[in-house]
Subunit: 386 residues, 2 copies
Amino acid sequence: MKKLLSSTIVLLLSLTGLSAQNQPPKAMTDYEKGSFPSETNVLRAEYPRVDPVTRKAYFKFHLPLAHTVTVNVGNDVYKGTRDIDGVWSIETDPLVVGFHYYFVNVDGARLTDPNSMSYFGYSVNAGGIEVPEGTEGDYYRFNKDVPHGQIRSIKYHSDINGTYRHINVYVPASYEKGKKRYPVLYLLHGMGENEFGWVDQGHVDFILDNMIAAGEAKEMIVVVMSGDIRTTPEIRSVRGKTVSDIYVDELVPFIDKNFRTLADREHRAMAGLSRGGGQTTTTVLTNHNMDKFAWIACLSGLFGINEENIDTVFGGALADPDAFNKQMRLFHISWGTEENGFRFEGSVAALKKKGINFVSYVSEGTAHEWLTWRRGFHDLAGKLFK
Amino acid sequence: MKKLLSSTIVLLLSLTGLSAQNQPPKAMTDYEKGSFPSETNVLRAEYPRVDPVTRKAYFKFHLPLAHTVTVNVGNDVYKGTRDIDGVWSIETDPLVVGFHYYFVNVDGARLTDPNSMSYFGYSVNAGGIEVPEGTEGDYYRFNKDVPHGQIRSIKYHSDINGTYRHINVYVPASYEKGKKRYPVLYLLHGMGENEFGWVDQGHVDFILDNMIAAGEAKEMIVVVMSGDIRTTPEIRSVRGKTVSDIYVDELVPFIDKNFRTLADREHRAMAGLSRGGGQTTTTVLTNHNMDKFAWIACLSGLFGINEENIDTVFGGALADPDAFNKQMRLFHISWGTEENGFRFEGSVAALKKKGINFVSYVSEGTAHEWLTWRRGFHDLAGKLFK
């Protein structure tokens, strides 16, 4: 294969001007002028831009050789228009406040915009935009006037995995200097995401910093973990074991050994969004681990329940409502009003009819997306361990 | 702008099959069969692949509509060839062991492969491959048989920045349970990289875990910081202040307040690679902060010195060799034999002639790239705080 060029001088030259790749001239049309660079952009990248009043996003790419350019924002596709200099412009519809994944599609290739910070979604490395609007979402923003916890990035060996696994662990601001022991929430992302989702997309650290400072949430440790079994490249599968086994047999003992936890079921919760909600009910209910977890939550993630199967679903855990209600301190269920395809209302109706205790939170005007989960987590965090 | 499709059902369907984007059929040619997926790939992505014997990398993209597809690996460009099904194949020359950035170029657009984990380089979000070879580099790999430290991800408010800054702080395995105080190394990335470079590309955590366990390095805290001033999107510049001010006026006091440090110059070091080496000499020497740091290192980053300017360069810090040698416990300089454009040999010759004490390490067969810096850090870590 032919090598076209190579030199350390070229490296220096190419590094110098590359603060923004494929970026167009900075001239903006009038309608873009109320916008500013998304906070998710890499340093100094002018696009994508977001408008906090219209909640539209603007993309520009200098791609004179491309034949078609579109952008996916979440699952919506927006077509680009090309000017005579080869700059493609894309304007979205008004977007829901908060975080959205995006891809740029060039002549049929679905690729990632290098000008965005990286957000793992759709099982790949995607771009992201953050749509602000007034004070909406102040609870998930960094606030310089409150004490801040840490996210501890930890790689530990897993016998089940056959390699190391990576977890992100939130500890509250008081953890470092004190002697106190804390309850622990085990928190899962959705399908196609990973253990960075609740941190980078969800801002779980900011939400808890703010709520703890305001006295709205109990201090807690949050183990932000991966819902996939990551193995060495040679293996890529683990025979006869699941992530639930990793959580219960390996991760919980690891956390209790290495952090100052309150190591009993009354102080241990599991929650997850979307598929992570399914992994939560599988781990705690179906796999009979209610002796280890007294608090569970499904954020857009209560699947597979209906009035017909309620006695047998989740390993029969819901068959005896009195026993269930006595054991579980909290069964928290949240979703957005625009998640029509998922029919969570039907699931909770079945729970209600059966007499299962639960608490629900419904996010107005949001779909299967991060604002639903930031809001849902905010509601959940105010109820955990109380 | 037209919205082409939108539905939560589409989301579910699209998530299901999307473990690898634009991925070709798995059939491999004979020469690819000794290869396996790069450890830097997202879960289940089959390409890029690396061959530990030939040290070649293989890329494949299913892009039937593209007219030209090339891949940049570092600064080398490799042309793709298209088969009748629209699968583009790219084979590299033999590569240096270790980590390399890459981009995929589709019809003139330099984009990021969503199938790679994200590595911030060239001031954008790039893909990466990791080339293994036998036991070369065992010192930078995860070893399940040694105790592991933590990387603490911390966001703190900076008055100079006007917003929060993010740092990654390595603490050794003994930190969490003990009462001990530790020396601190402040460590900087190169141009176009950020505070994740030394962790994700450099494996500084694995290197220190391994060396500390073997008794080859002193236990230390490493503050892995950003060399850019990241500001709010509205500002994007800070008048009259530099990152050096952030390090000395804000970061060192923050670290000494929040970690169990040995808070004096004898136990405080600064080091950086490439531009980070320049920021190190600027911060410690030019800005007269030798009262705060007694150990410095430039990894491919000693710039601007020659025999003519040695009395005036770095604010005159090198004019009096006796005074300099008395103050600095270590001046560590490292580079690779293939970095011809940088002429580090000339810089160290000038130091030598002047009588400045320094220790050098030269990496055989490597250029301005991560294997040079992993090796250089390995050598440096064995000499720090001793």
